[in-house]
Symmetry: C2
Subunit: 409 residues, 2 copies
Amino acid sequence: MNEKNCIIGQSGGPTVAINASLAGVISRAQDLGFKHIYGMINGIKGLIENRYTDLNLIFQSPELLNTLKESPAMYLGSCRYKLKDINQDKKQYELLFHKFEELNITDFYYIGGNDSMDTVAKLSEYAKITHSDIHFVGIPKTIDNDLMGTDHTPGFGSAAKYVASSMLEIAYDSSIYNLDSVTIVEIMGRNAGWLTAASALARSSFNEAPDLIYLPEVPFIKENFLNDIREVFKRKRSVIIAVSEGIKNADGDYLDQDSKYVKKDAFGHILHSGTGKVLETIVFKEFQCKVRSIELNVLQRCAMHNASKTDIEESFRIGVNAVNASENHTGIMMCFKRLSNHPYLIETEYKNVVDIANKEQRIPIEWINKKHNDITPELYDYLYPLIQGEVNVTYKDGIPFYINISHLK
Amino acid sequence: MNEKNCIIGQSGGPTVAINASLAGVISRAQDLGFKHIYGMINGIKGLIENRYTDLNLIFQSPELLNTLKESPAMYLGSCRYKLKDINQDKKQYELLFHKFEELNITDFYYIGGNDSMDTVAKLSEYAKITHSDIHFVGIPKTIDNDLMGTDHTPGFGSAAKYVASSMLEIAYDSSIYNLDSVTIVEIMGRNAGWLTAASALARSSFNEAPDLIYLPEVPFIKENFLNDIREVFKRKRSVIIAVSEGIKNADGDYLDQDSKYVKKDAFGHILHSGTGKVLETIVFKEFQCKVRSIELNVLQRCAMHNASKTDIEESFRIGVNAVNASENHTGIMMCFKRLSNHPYLIETEYKNVVDIANKEQRIPIEWINKKHNDITPELYDYLYPLIQGEVNVTYKDGIPFYINISHLK
């Protein structure tokens, strides 16, 4: 049997589970006797700049691999870099495949979201054209849960658990004053409302917050919104609202699109941050009561100290299975398939990455209630298993102990 | 021995430790055979409106008392209500003392911050004038750590732990891209920078963030700030900054005082929320790089899922000792006295509340570095023990299980 060497990269926005998938790949590649397990530093862009390391030399102990598994963000660093079309810029592909040849790469793994799957699709397409033997496998991750083809994405469950726990704690915080108040919690999710929907998991026999949930899948109608609040005020004084950063009005415009904080990322996506503040003003004008907006911000995707055990274990497993799948397959993305909800049973499978890349999985309209201000029990049942279980991260000196990433500075 | 009955209230902003102090009071009062342990609903204002409950009837099991101890916010609800001076409004005092007599109250406990201690001071002053036998004891709490007379305040350690852990996770999140970026983390603290200083506890052998710390105790000089960032950029690409919401320029003006989000609370204190955004604009103008500001917001004071065990245990103990102290004393606030740092040893004592109320404990200037952009090792040593240990809160259905506070709606 010939020597096997693989290379792994991480790309896109961070999650708390992306290192678990990396740990899964390393662990399985070691088991299978891969000689070199290269890691691109800062994704495909770093590799183009010749920056990589050998993970097989670094991760020699199970303890260190476990620390990696339970560390947030990205051990290998990230990039937001889209390969040009093969016809537009052949040179970059030649350069990359020359590098693969130099390093004697047999398997290529890329952990990322939508845009990263585009990279996997393009590289495997180029491999097909040039009759390269290298296998290209995408491993999904995104807190947004917006990838096609998979029941859910690694990283989403932990973000969902953080959102639900924080929503519960904010509800407790907001309930202590005996006065009318509205608390607006702005949650990440550009076009897909999965994470905002997950705030519903904060509900229990003791807590009914969030009282209202607004998702980007349905138009946001200001008058209905104000009426919804008025209705809640009839039964309680503290109204708690979960809202996606990406809600749009009936004309399809983002609520904060004329805000001065609109920015765009390298892919031209608008980066939103002002929706909560816009709603704060709208609510205060109408009700003249205490109004506060809270942006959960990046902690949604990096709060490893409150990760979902289900998510971390699944993310590790999908990394393991990616190495298994790449023995005989290329141009694929690893996926989760849900076998049942009660008990929660999942298996990993794979699908053609070209069918997945650049598409978006949003919440099905039948999982949003008729009034467009809440989710249905079906969506709750879908979300519930993903946040179960806690990862007891190691603490040292009063703060979580995470893997050393000072090589990224 | 005569029948003993006490009444307890919580007031001011929430912390994750204020219920631990309440649990301490209840536990000790039960041990000492108090007949009624009344709880004011929504503090002294609720009592004026005749809203109270009997905690002795509710907390019959150690398990429930333990759930209370490990639940955030305020079981009894809060108020922001300042009693008028005795000479200005005698009626309110008469009404309250009439109620105390009706309920046969022997001991009064009030858990809160600066403004709550003002209530304790005024009530005990009125008791002295009217020769009442009731003992009035204040139990401190505030995430701001700005009360005089005590080494630190219950609730501060947990908020500090949340700030340090979040700062670490944000630093990991911010380090993944290979580009120049500035991340500004805005931390609570109106006039005292204790909580912002606690972000330094995120530093470890793996992590040097926060790179810069700006505190309200020293003037904020824009030119120095930009120079500080320039210096950090010489050695790393991702600059992480901790800044207090309450920093002021050399003229003593809050940085965000002309922001449209300035609000005031019932005591006339300005509620800040825009400092991070103001700095974001300043930094972007100068460096034209990726800039993000993150407001940690209310989770600093309600994230029980990341509480400090030291803080929760101490907060319980100060509640217990308040009941002990009130047997022979009145007009006091319970305090912590630090006996040593290595090992960390603390004892509770009490001081006259009139010497404490309406005063503010800020960071001593000698605990801030000469450049006014960091803290000294002495301050680090002071902070370090307060965040040690984790409270493994109970999770149910994937979210923390906290005490039922639906009576507050």
